[in-house]
Structures are given as C-alpha cells and as structure tokens.
C-alpha cells in the first residue's frame, strides 16, 4: 500500500517531463520549500532548544546543556513513556481486532455496496475530532446516554464510571484512530486473490487455519501499515487524554504540551519531543525494513 503512490508519482513525473520540465520543477520545488520551511526548520529548532537551558525571563537561555535529557531518565518520566506506549499499543490492538473483520466484510461485499460501506468509515472526518471527542463525553459520562440505556435495560444497578478513567482514553483513541486501521487493511484485502482461500479450504483448512495461514500472512503489509498509522498518532495525541481522561492520565503528548504552555520549561518539553520523534523514526525504520523484506519476497 505504501509503495503505490510513489510509483504513481514517478509515472506522472515522467509524463510531465515530456510537456516541459518547468511545471515539474515548480510543483516539486514548492512542496520541498514548504516542507523545509514548515517541517524541517521547526524540528531543527526543537532539537536546538532541547540542548539549551531554561531561562528565567526568556523562554530559554543560550547555554549548551544536556540537562533536559538527563531529567527524562527520572523514573517518573519513564513511567509516562511506558503508560503512553502501553495505551497506544492497546489502542492499536483493539483497532486491529475491530477493523480486521470489518475490512474483510467490506472486501467480500458485493462491489456496489463497497463505496457506501467505506463511506461509513470516512464520514466521521467531516467533523473535527475534538468535537467528536466531546461527543464521547456525552455518551459515557455518569449520567450519559450509555448509563441511561444500561440502567433502563436493567443491566446495571448503578451508573458505571467510565469517564475520566484509562478506559475512557482508550475508547477515545480507538474511536479516533479506527479509520486509519480500516483503510490500509481494506486496501490489502481488496488486492487479495480469494481463490487462495478456496485452495486452503480445499486442502482441509477450517476458518482459523485460513485466517492464520493465508489471510494474515497475505495482508501483513496492510496490518503493519494500519498499526503504524494508529500507534504513532495515539502516542502523541493529548486532547483525547485531556477531555476523556481528566487530568489523571499523564501521557507523553500531555507532558510535552504542559512543558510548553503551563510549566514554561521549553528545553525539557523539546527534549521529550525529540525522544518521541526518534522513537517514532525508529519504528518507521523497522516498518520500512519489514516492507522491503515483504516486497522482495513477493517480487522475487
């Protein structure tokens, strides 16, 4: 899935070259300029700030220091990193468990139904995710719709406490990130040769054997891509934890936000930010490596 757009872009570039290199240079140059100015430069600034000291009157004092990084080694912050990774990982697994059967069902649905089913996944994007997160509050708060329903049905005797717990944050993550899992999975399954499933059944495979020996291995690129798309944003998101977790759940995203906006410790916030970025880069590196291995397998 990840390789498709690159191939397409190459093809288009070749076409455009024939019509005149000027357009191509401007189009690519603009994007490069934009990325340099608004992505690379700020990131370099963050790296620079992370290596400075905290200032009393200004935000930073221009003096080299690795103190912020040393502070990150404090078990307190290690705990923050750990709980962030744990929550993001759980959210990724839950997304995968929900999205896989759904994507499978869409890919197996009659062709004319598929656009409608995929639209269901995309429709939430029409509203700001912050607004949608507040909508979840209305659903799960103590006197919210969920509890009202459960009480009315007699399933519980007293309202269950979900809001401002880790569970609430998890629900928020899963809800927000689910489409990013469904779409790459669907892309992988749509390309799947379903005769292979028939072949597996013919050779004696039951439903589980078909899943583990054929479907999962063949949709692995989609599984990895979807997991990256869910895990990485879940690691950095702060407003979901703010709105649904109250102040109780301190995650990396919230930690960084607090350092910049309330604690006013820019170097420390920047250092935390750099560490998260490096961890994400490492994950993407692993992903790229796995893609290349899968790719060479398929192509060979």
């Amino acid at each position: 899935m990840a390789e498709r757009p690159i191939v397409a872009a190459r093809g288009e570039a070749r076409d455009l070259r024939g019509e005149g290199g000027g357009f191509r240079r401007v189009a690519i140059g603009t994007t490069w300029f934009w990325l340099l100015l608004f992505a690379l430069a700020p990131n370099l600034l963050v790296v620079a700030v992370s290596l400075l000291e905290r200032g009393e009157r200004e935000f930073v004092r221009v003096a080299f220091s690795v103190g912020s990084y040393v502070r990150l080694l404090d078990p307190l912050y290690a705990g923050v990193f750990w709980s962030s990774f744990r929550l993001a990982a759980i959210a990724t697994i839950v997304c995968l468990l929900i999205a896989y059967p759904f994507a499978l069902a869409v890919a197996r649905a009659p062709l004319r139904w598929r656009p409608a089913l995929l639209a269901l996944v995309v429709i939430p994007f029409w509203t700001s995710s912050l607004v949608r997160t507040y909508a979840i509050v209305i659903l799960i708060k103590t006197e919210g719709l969920l509890n009202a329903g459960l009480l009315a049905l007699g399933l519980v005797d007293e309202p269950i406490e979900i809001l401002y717990t880790e569970l609430a944050v998890l629900i928020g993550f899963v809800y927000t990130e689910l489409p990013f899992m469904v779409l790459p999975l669907y892309a992988a399954m749509e390309k799947l040769d379903w005769r292979l499933v028939e072949a597996a059944r013919d050779l004696g495979a039951g439903a589980w054997a078909v899943l583990w020996r054929v479907l999962v291995p063949l949709t692995l690129p989609g599984i990895i891509a979807g997991s990256m798309l869910v895990f990485l944003p879940a690691l950095g998101m702060f407003y979901v934890a703010d709105v649904l977790g109250g102040a109780k759940e301190l995650l990396i995203g919230n930690l960084i936000r607090d350092q910049f906006l309330s604690a006013r410790d820019w170097p420390f916030g920047a250092a935390a930010s750099v560490v998260v970025t490096l961890l994400m880069a490492a994950l993407i590196g692993v992903y790229a490596l796995s893609q290349r291995r899968l790719g060479s397998r398929g192509a060979a």
């Binding site: 292979l196 059944r201 063949l218 192509a299």
Partner: protein
C-alpha cells in the same frame, strides 16, 4: 467394477433465475479418468465445485465414498482440486505449499518431510523445494499445484482446466504426464476441459455437457464415432452434416435420399434413435472419412454413387491436406482431410487446385444419422 466413488443424484443448480445444472445424474467409478467436456458456461466447472464442496446444489444430492456430502464444507471432504489459475500460496515456498494439506492433517517433522519430498519427486520438482511460486515457470507452477493436491492422497482429484494456461507443446507433454501419473497413482481424476482433443486423448470416459445437461457419456471412441446428437457431433471433432430424407426403414438398413442421390446405409450405422420413414435427418460424416476422387480415377460404373463437387480451398497442413469443397447441386459445403497416400498414384502429391472438379464419397456405414434438434 461398480465401485462408485462420486455420485451426483438429480443435481440441479440455479443462480437466481439462471439454471446452470438441470437434473444431472452422474456416477464416477473409482480409479477412472473422467473428463467433463463442454463449451464455456455448460456447467462443467459447477459440477467440479459441487464435488469439491465450494457450492451446494439447489436440489439433488452429492455422494462421496458412499456417504452423502451435499452440505459438507470443502475442508471436510477427502477431495482435492488443481485450480485453473493454480492458486499457489505466494507467501510460501514450494515445500510449504505442498506441505499445507499434510500439516493440517497433523503430519509433523520427518513423516511430513518424507511425504512432501516424495510427492515433489513424483512431479520432478525435488530441486525446487525452497523456491517460491513466483520464481517458477508456468509448467513448474502447474506441477506444484498437482503435487499440493495429490500429496493428500484424495479419493478424487478434481482438475479444472489445468492445462489451459500452458503453451501448445507444454500442454501436449503435460497431457501425457497427467495420464501416466493417474495410472501410477490410481487416483480417480475428474478433469474439466473445453478442449475436445484433450478430452479424447486423456480420458477413460467422457461426459459431454451442454446447457446444464449431460448430452452423452461414453468412451472417447464412442463419443467421437457415435455421437448421440447434433451437439455432441459438432462439438467433439469436426463433422459435415448433410440434410437427408429417410425413405425406408428395413432390417437391412436405411434407405435415404441425400443431395438427390438415393443411398442405402447398412445396418450397424451409428444410429442412436432409429428414424421413421419420411423423417428429415442429418447424415454426419467426419472430414477424414470423406474421400476425394479426381476425374481420371472415376469410371462410368462408379460415377452414379459419387457426389460431384468443386474445390473451393486447399489448405496444406503438413501431414494432411484439407480441402473445402462445394456440392454444386445444393451449395452444401464440406470439409475433408486427405492423407498423403503412396499407394494411390492419382493423389500421391495431393496437388489439388481451387476450382477443380472432383467427386466425393464415403464408405457407407462410416456416417452417423442424427435426428434434427
């Protein structure tokens, strides 16, 4: 003999309003090489999918090894399929593709290894165990597909047009190899094809299907020489159909009028349904059974029993020369195949020319009489 391994009992299959199979009864004997032959859309692949368990019939029953399996899923049937597209698992090596079935059946380690390697040796692929399907040629992929199916020692091996993707020479070689394999393994093969030549050369028995019904079942020879109806006659091999009128039906044979000639067809002529006097029929003659006479060969005595014709087209085929001729009286076109014959000086060279006036005949008794429709 009557050891039946697969039985379809009045099987009907409908998709919505479309009837794909219409009351098919079929018994397949253990160990035979049975071919389902028919044009695309005749229902032959559906028969295969019903036996494999990918489809359930709308009505009727499927029996396998003496047990009813009509609603049993494919993984519970001791039947394996060689798919038209091979459907090899691209993420697994040749070894793991072949080991797929045995592993599910619980074979492990040494036993598994021995089984898989033996089967790979059977299809001459022992050196390719570690390759992936994508690294193999079409013919090799075909062998992997066969190995993956036969390693499970199924009661029946189903083959869905397995040779259609191969080029001509490879297809010929694989036909012989498949036939040898079937003899050696003694597994029942049910082979689906639309290629009548393939069907004739490989099968013990052929089932000709059209429009969801069985048209004829029989040995390749009986299918070719005594087709049951116009469809079978036309589909299996080439045939010339001459309209004729039955004059008299006697113990000695038929008396018919054909192209203005009165002819006697001896008894023993391939007639499935004996026509009545006055009935219009077709007389079918295979191209290779038509003999062409040149003017110089024909004596006055012989002339009345021959049909005058004009050559339209001469097609040199290497071992034979095909002639397209026209009967000037009715305009009926016939195609004939002439073999080079050293003993017949008049046609040794087969140097016929378009426009040449010739005569056509066949040995009475070599034709088939087919009712209309």
């Amino acid at each position: 003999m009557a050891d039946t391994v697969v039985e379809l009992r009045s099987v009907t299959k409908r998709y919505g309003r479309q009837t794909v199979l219409d009351g098919v009864d079929l018994a397949i004997e253990r160990g035979e090489f049975l071919t389902l032959l028919g044009p695309s859309g005749c229902g032959k692949t559906t028969v295969l999918r019903l036996i494999a368990g990918f489809e359930a019939p709308t009505a009727g029953e499927v029996w396998l090894d003496g047990a009813e399996v009509t609603r049993l899923p494919p993984n519970s049937r001791h039947v394996n399929t060689v798919f038209q597209s091979y459907a090899l698992f691209p993420h697994l090596s040749v070894f793991d593709n072949v080991a797929f079935g045995p592993r599910l059946a619980g074979h492990r380690a040494g036993d598994l290894d021995r089984r898989v390697r033996e089967t790979l040796a059977t299809v001459q692929l022992e050196d390719y165990a570690d390759r992936r399907p994508g690294q193999l040629s079409g013919g090799q992929q075909q062998r992997v597909a066969i190995a993956r199916a036969i390693v499970n020692q199924p009661s029946v091996l189903l083959l869905d047009e397995p040779l259609s993707a191969l080029d001509y020479k490879l297809r010929k070689a694989m036909q012989i190899e498949l036939k040898q394999l079937q003899r050696r393994l003694g597994i029942t093969f049910v082979f689906v094809t639309h290629d009548q030549e393939e069907a004739l050369s490989m099968s013990d028995r052929i089932v000709v299907l059209d429009a969801g019904r069985i048209q004829q079942t029989g040995s390749p020879r009986s299918i070719y020489e005594t087709p049951a109806n116009l469809f079978v006659a036309g589909f299996v091999g080439e045939i010339n159909l001459l309209p004729a009128l039955v004059q008299e039906v006697a113990d000695a044979g038929l008396s018919i009028t054909i192209e203005g000639h009165r002819m006697r067809l001896p008894k023993g002529t391939a007639i499935k349904t004996v026509p009545r006097a006055g009935e219009s029929v077709y007389v079918g003659v295979r191209p290779e059974d038509l003999r062409i006479w040149r003017e110089v060969e024909v004596t006055d005595e012989l002339r009345p029993s021959l049909f005058p014709a004009i050559i339209d087209e001469v097609i040199y085929k290497g071992s034979t020369v095909d002639l397209q001729v026209r009967l000037p009286a009715s305009g009926t076109r016939l195609s004939t195949t002439q073999f080079f014959n050293e003993d017949d000086p008049a046609i040794t060279e087969l140097d016929f020319a378009a426009g040449e006036r010739v005569y056509v005949s066949w040995v009475p008794g070599w034709e088939v009489v087919l009712p209309h429709g």
